[in-house]
Subunit: 85 residues, 2 copies
Amino acid sequence: MNTYHASIKVALRKNILDVQGKTVEQALHSMGIESIADVHIGKSVEMSVQAYSREEALAFVDDACRKLIANPIMEDFTIDIVQEK
Amino acid sequence: MNTYHASIKVALRKNILDVQGKTVEQALHSMGIESIADVHIGKSVEMSVQAYSREEALAFVDDACRKLIANPIMEDFTIDIVQEK
């Protein structure tokens, strides 16, 4: 059994308005930081996973994302998995 | 002037209890996904930056994080910057 570290990024689907991102962008501009644009805010989730292989760890994390962590109607997610030493 | 893409991860400092992460972990266990532990939930922020160099882009994003995006008392942040083609 190995230990893996999973990093998940959950973001709103591209065609859904990111109100929080827009608000942060406007706030940055009004603070004088004008060179920043296209701000998108999502969730970052880190976890450790016990599994026999990288594939099995990915399957556990994918299952967790689909069933609980991401909203499949409004959000997309990406998973990065590395084996812990 | 170049365009850079910045990915920021904002997470609670290690010694602060991550209640949201703990709740997700317990929910996963009660759903039968028991091999996942140490769940930590933070923010993921993506943005594009106009700057003359990678260093200048990093300075803009670091400034934005310190002044608005992260709470310096409770949160740590990491910044990844890549130049867009």
